[in-house]
Symmetry: C2
Subunit: 204 residues, 2 copies
DNA sequence: TCGTGACTTTACCATTTGGTAAAAAAGCGG
DNA sequence: CCGCTTTTTTACCAAATGGTAAAGTCACGA
């Protein structure tokens, strides 16, 4: 009932595709799309270049596959925000999850940042169809909370964007932060919790 | 008294170097270092490739020149923070100047972001020698203000980093924001002013 | 106006890069 | 162990790319 045309992928195929994607994530996140080469990916994956092209039709398909996989998990923290929870705690929980995700998947974060920096040439559709609706929904939720007086009023859109900005920064600008602060940037959680608590706590 | 070894650059030399750097800023900021090609830069500058290599010894020298010029102006807003001014107003003024700079020089912002994302291979020395000392100095100033009770206490380092993150985001992630919000993201100034006012206003 | 040095162009190169063809080698069900 | 499919390797290729050599062309002071 579920393999009409695409045959089931063999074990070895699954394994090698995974290895390639893993290697490609390393390379793309470090050098960007154009800066990455198939040879680099091949070496990192421990496979020959033509062998990689046996599993993927080209460089772009690898990249697109990575972006697709990324979008699946990238939006989870935002999606998990619960309309029935305590507003402030929900917001802080989101900040915490997003920061943790940046820390846990810095390569994914950089892959994303690289793509956006370059004008999102291979991801514009995803933004429109995947991110936009969720973003709008959560903006509405936040606005509702504010209207009810359960969060201090600010522009919901800018609020969410600022959360992305601050949390992603720790992954994407690691090279800069490493020069300025003790590695790992301890205290980021505390700082961001303070920041958003003071911003969002209602009633002067 | 000021041309010991390097002869004075002729008018035409000045003009063409400027054109090349202008074109290179376009190209590098859009495609990153490895994604940019000399041919692209040449075309954007309206010069032939070998002609460009008459003015610069190679691709890397153009890039490094841009980064050097960038650092000169990039730190100005932070430098302008006045120890004798009103703490909160100084901080808000810094946020405003930084945001304005991101808006006015988005290419420079992206050039910088690209370089950092890639691990700052051509800029690490600048960070250490140019940015670090200024950063430390301003952290000390902010901490002083907090100790005097003139700003609400938070980690000064994370505070400054968060200002970079939020303000740069508007330039660097333009492609993403364009999908989510009305173009130009009006209201960013207002939002950031609210954010940092609530964070930093002393006394509960 | 003429020579000389500053600037440009034309014609190339060697390497790298994404990608292909086809032969060789594994796997694997029977 | 056989035959067929899946996987991997070897040997290439055309285009792109950073860069060079050397022959012009231009500008301008004497």
């Amino acid at each position: 009932m579920d393999q009409p045309t695409p045959k089931k992928p063999s074990r070895i195929q699954q394994k090698n595709r995974k290895r390639i994607l893993e290697a490609a994530l390393d390379v793309f996140s470090q050098h960007g799309y154009r800066g990455a080469t198939l040879d680099q990916i091949a070496e990192a994956a421990g496979l020959s270049k033509p062998n990689i092209l046996y599993y993927f039709s080209g460089k772009e398909e690898i990249h697109v596959t990575l972006l697709n996989r990324l979008m699946e998990t990238w939006l989870d923290p935002l999606d998990e925000m619960d309309p029935n929870g305590d507003p402030l705690q929900e917001m802080l929980g989101y900040v915490r999850r997003k920061l943790q995700m940046s820390r846990e998947f810095p390569r994914e974060s950089r892959l994303f940042a690289n793509e956006i920096l370059q004008g999102a040439p291979r991801m514009a559709p995803h933004l429109e169809s995947g991110l936009k609706p969720l973003f709008d929904r959560k903006c509405a939720l936040v606005r509702e909370w504010m209207d009810q007086g359960r969060l201090a009023p600010v522009d919901p859109g800018h609020l969410i964007v600022s959360i992305w900005a601050t949390t992603q920064h720790y992954a994407d600008f690691d090279a800069q932060l490493g020069v300025l602060m003790p590695p790992g940037a301890p205290g980021a959680e505390t700082f961001l919790e303070t920041l958003y608590t003071r911003l969002l706590t209602p009633g002067r």
